[in-house]
């Protein structure tokens, strides 16, 4: 069947801004609760993040030690903070490129989502961000505590830095989903997006600074990385939270994140509009 752009999309439950906020707030809360339902998975994720964290910390601190106590502007404390903060964010920032929406587009059940009087992009974003925010409790906080207790990590705790750090982390979470949404929405044209998803996973992790900070890249690779939204997913929030970048520079870095969120949202919005005309679901 083919779906024409529904006239009911603008009206209905999300007509006014207040109603829009209420509905999306509920979706966010339901995503949060959904994350809470899979406790075993959260524990498994924590164990994996912690194991990789220890491996990352050992190789990165060894590199700093081999560099004479300093490597590309990182001393031992800074690199330890980098390693543990990146592991803490990993449960919430989607670098895998996978999302339920891709499966729903592939098997056609997205048709049901498109019939609802809600925008698919904003609705799924609210849900996925809710789920990601829950992951901060079982996967983010324990790793930060571990980094402080075992790794000797020190974080700035003055309210302005803390607030900006939290905002930067939230922007990274939202941006990661908006980017993964683009991968999933390309399924309106290609149906199967697994190959693209794997490609996204490889490139985004590397350019976000998952294993090696982007700032250690050679200049040409660094220029390439900062031309993409990926450093805004890990490098930027880690820099802001750890206080490595502060003051006006930190505000600028968060500004870059906001710009990427706006750009990813706009592209996703256009793709959704074009895609719903394009979508063809077999069977019925």
């Amino acid at each position: 069947m083919r779906l024409s752009p529904g006239p009911q999309r603008r009206g209905g439950v999300a007509g006014t801004p207040r109603a829009w906020l209420r509905v999306h707030g509920r979706l966010l809360a339901s995503g949060f609760r959904r994350g809470a339902a899979y406790r075993g998975a959260a524990l498994g994720g924590l164990v994996a993040n912690v194991t990789f964290g220890f491996l990352k910390v050992s190789v990165l601190t060894a590199a700093v030690a081999a560099g004479g106590g300093e490597l590309g502007g990182y001393d031992e404390a800074a690199i330890v903070a980098y390693a543990w903060l990146s592991q803490a964010l990993l449960g919430s920032v989607n670098l895998f490129g996978r999302t339920d929406l891709a499966d729903r587009i592939k098997d056609g059940s997205v048709a049901v989502d498109l019939l609802r009087p809600l925008d698919v992009q904003t609705a799924t974003t609210a849900q996925e961000v809710g789920r990601a925010l829950f992951q901060l409790l079982p996967r983010g906080l324990p790793i930060i505590v571990l980094g402080v207790l075992v790794g000797g990590m020190r974080l700035p705790t003055d309210p302005p830095t803390l607030a900006l750090g939290l905002l930067s982390a939230l922007l990274a979470v939202v941006l990661s989903y908006l980017l993964v949404y683009l991968v999933a929405a390309s399924g309106f044209w290609t149906v199967e997006t697994r190959g693209l998803q794997v490609l996204y996973m490889i490139v985004s992790g590397f350019l976000a600074g998952l294993f090696v900070p982007v700032t250690l890249f050679p200049s040409w690779l660094y220029a390439l990385a900062v031309a993409t939204p990926f450093p805004s997913l890990l490098q930027v929030p880690i820099d802001v939270i750890s206080g490595r970048v502060d003051g006006a520079a930190a505000l600028g870095a968060v500004g870059v994140q906001v710009a990427w969120v706006a750009a990813a949202f706009a592209v996703g919005h256009l793709m959704t509009r074009a895609g719903r005309r394009r979508l063809e679901v077999q069977g019925g």
Binding site: A62, A63, V198, L199, I202, F206
Partner: protein, 289 residues
């Protein structure tokens, strides 16, 4: 079907042909499965090509991560870039080969959740043998290519006193490391019977192990040496053989002569793997229905 029926009849005539025929009888169904899987995986050409390319890219990105670190330092944990390339080559070749042949056992949680595992119990073959031979992950082929290339370059740029013993050592090490990683996959699958939803917990050991295998183990602290040095003998897959081969000093708890014991690590892993698998299978109560 016709030659399947004839095989046992032919085999009865001579002792040596019995063994051969048994092997042939074992190989024939596996070959049939493999050909069908290869056909299935290559039928979506575009998707398969993308998979092959992605596997190469993953390998290259991992190499790039090592290279970025070595840009600013001469040596990490006593290994220079040439030596670490050799570690990476052995580790990646062995892991990818194990992944090609048995890596798909990590889909077990999916069978457990869907209850489709029970079908395997109806067939007159050991469960593990069925699972291992049910699939081959062909897209890993290019990943093995990356590993072999790194290995070849690593062997060329390092100062190695070539002798038949060195060649034999390398062959044994590659074989033992592949078996160690394969055992790791099986051990993880055995534990899945208990975890089901928390499969990421074993990923910490399997994929964390792959990452650990490419590192110089000398940078690890004591907890990591206990975990990836001995309990899960990842240090034996690449780091220890390389320091033994190049005559480098090992680490505090990992002296370089341990590199000669790589086959022991494979034996230990498989002992644990088979125990984990047996315990898991006995624990399994069926999918219901």
């Amino acid at each position: 079907m016709a030659d399947l029926d004839q095989a046992p009849a032919r085999a009865g005539t001579h002792r040596s042909t019995t063994a051969l025929a048994a092997l042939a009888a074992w190989w024939r169904p596996y070959r049939a499965v493999l050909t069908s899987r290869v056909r299935a995986q290559t039928s979506y050409r575009g998707s398969f090509a993308l998979d092959l390319a992605s596997s190469v890219l993953i390998g290259l990105v991992e190499l790039a991560e090592i290279w970025v670190l070595y840009r600013s330092v001469d040596a990490l944990g006593g290994l220079d870039l040439a030596a670490v390339l050799l570690v990476f080559g052995i580790a990646d070749t062995a892991f990818s080969t194990a992944d090609l042949f048995v890596g798909h056992v990590d889909t077990l949680p999916r069978y457990l959740r869907a209850g489709t595992l029970d079908v395997f119990y109806l067939r007159p073959q050991p469960l593990l043998a069925q699972l291992v031979t049910s699939e081959i992950s062909l897209r890993r082929v290019t990943r093995i290519g990356v590993g072999l290339t790194a290995l070849a370059v690593g062997l060329a740029v390092n100062d190695i006193a070539w002798s038949p013993l060195v060649v034999a050592f390398l062959v044994v090490v590659l074989l033992a490391s592949t078996l160690t990683f394969a055992g790791l996959f099986v051990a993880a699958a055995g534990v899945q019977f208990f975890l089901v939803d928390a499969s990421e917990m074993t990923n910490a050991v399997v994929y964390g192990g792959r990452y650990a295998a490419t590192q110089p183990a000398s940078v690890w602290g004591k907890p990591l040496v206990a975990l990836f040095g001995f309990a899960v003998p990842i240090a034996f897959t690449a780091y220890l053989p390389v320091v033994a081969l190049l005559g480098l000093p090992g680490a505090e708890w990992l002296p370089s002569w341990l590199g000669w014991l790589a086959p022991l690590a494979a034996v230990w892993t498989w002992a644990v793997a088979l125990l984990a698998w047996r315990t898991g299978v006995r624990h399994y109560q069926g999918g219901g229905g």
